[in-house]
Symmetry: C2
Subunit: 266 residues, 2 copies
């Protein structure tokens, strides 16, 4: 369940209603996939001021339904009320198909770390927009509408994933949650994070730091999971590191020299 409040989580002058609905659905449905479940249904509460244009609400619902369709879920119901600010309350439901939920707490030293989905595309798209650029268009589209790889979630559960999370705050921040919950250190390799689109965007912006987007950019809702060593993974799972004894998250063996906000992962 997530609550989204106008002017705190989104702004009507920055996002279309369709994109607000799509993003809101994606962030909740991705949470379901990240526990190894197939999303089945979304319940949506909408509180809004009486002067909200009906077209805005209709576009919101279209965005919600479009993302539900991508995830194989349906918009099952909800409630409507009045409020001064638009408030969305979204609950996502899923089906574990008999598997136990995959949590953040099961990573073990020796596990391999793998990613399904994109990293840093949303952050790069935002940087392009802020610079007045609209190319590479795929990155801008990723910022407006994340495309979580929903089927990879139950697939990971079936493959025996020991822990999983969706990347909503940034790879290092979210791996930090796994490291903390599992009591392990996670070692990330920078090399497999190389991404031609990120590099193109960095070049378009005169030499921006593409690796920072990949390591700290959120909202793409890629799935990061740990698997027992030797697990054969489908190609859309890219191995980007491994689990070790210790605490925190490292990149190429070192603490990532990020902003102060990252210190609590060391």
């Amino acid at each position: 369940m997530d609550l989204l409040v106008e002017d705190r989580h989104f702004r009507r002058d920055w996002s279309t209603a369709f994109d607000v609905g799509g993003k809101a659905a994606a962030q909740n449905l991705a949470d379901i996939a990240a526990m190894g479940a197939s999303p089945t249904a979304l319940l949506v509460g909408l509180a809004a001021p009486g002067d909200l244009p009906a077209a805005w609400a209709q576009d919101l619902v279209r965005g919600l339904v479009a993302e539900c369709s991508r995830a194989g879920a349906f918009l099952a119901g909800g409630d409507v009320s009045s409020a001064e600010k638009i408030t969305l309350a979204i609950t996502a439901l899923g089906n574990m198909a008999g598997f136990e939920p995959v949590t953040r707490a099961g990573a073990r030293p020796g596990d391999q770390l793998a990613i399904a989905g994109r990293l840093g595309h949303s952050a790069a798209g935002l940087a392009l927009l802020e610079a007045g650029l609209t190319e590479p268009g795929a990155l801008v589209a990723s910022h407006r509408r994340p495309r979580p790889p929903y089927p990879a979630g139950p697939e990971a559960a079936a493959l025996g994933a020991t822990s999983m999370i969706d990347i909503s705050d940034g790879l290092l921040a979210d791996l930090g949650h796994i490291a903390q919950a599992s009591g392990v250190r996670i070692d990330v390799d920078a090399e497999p994070l190389a991404d031609t689109r990120l590099k193109a965007a960095a070049a378009a912006l005169g030499g921006a730091d593409w690796l920072r987007w990949a390591l700290t950019g959120g909202e793409d809702h890629a799935l990061a999971a740990t698997f027992p060593a030797g697990t054969g993974l489908p190609r859309h799972w890219a191995v980007i590191g491994r689990v070790a004894t210790g605490l925190g998250v490292r990149v190429d063996g070192k603490q990532y020299p990020g902003p102060a906000g990252w210190n609590h992962f060391t």
Copy 2:
């Protein structure tokens, strides 16, 4: 799922946080029971202003948890955000235990109509409070904290209930929903609605109309269900009428002479 917004659905100066939580949980958990399911879990989103006293939120949670315990459910999680007005988004989940959900659409002519739980107690309690009275205390308590008969819901499903609803808007209004969805007429007998506590409250108020409380008072969240004729019902299900061909809801064979708001049930 229900949304409750401060000053629209509750007022902090009229209700304690504990009662707001208890009522909010009850109205959602009763919806689950009214489909024949056993409530299992509640998800609660709370958006609130930054100056909300922590004690208010803690009492709210205590009220939510207390009602979950009554229902055999647990408070499973949720989300917190900031907002100008307190906004509660509550999603209740339940387990059908293999039965099909009981809807409003299955009542058939010849079925018997039965009630589990109290009718009109909350309305009578409010009338007492408005008159400055606090006795009968059980009615005042019913107004502050409804006590839906949760186990009667799955019991009705197992007994073969053809339709069911919880009384949140008033008996006639909610039976009107069943009559409309099922395409039937529902005949209510006034005699079995007689209730010594309602009569005592009516006397204390100098001769109020106790039957009106029973027929139109909401928020008690009793369960009303229809069962095939001849179904043996446990004692806590009181037979109060039957289903006939036609449309609308009648009391003792006549349209109830209520306020204009009732006309749409004829």
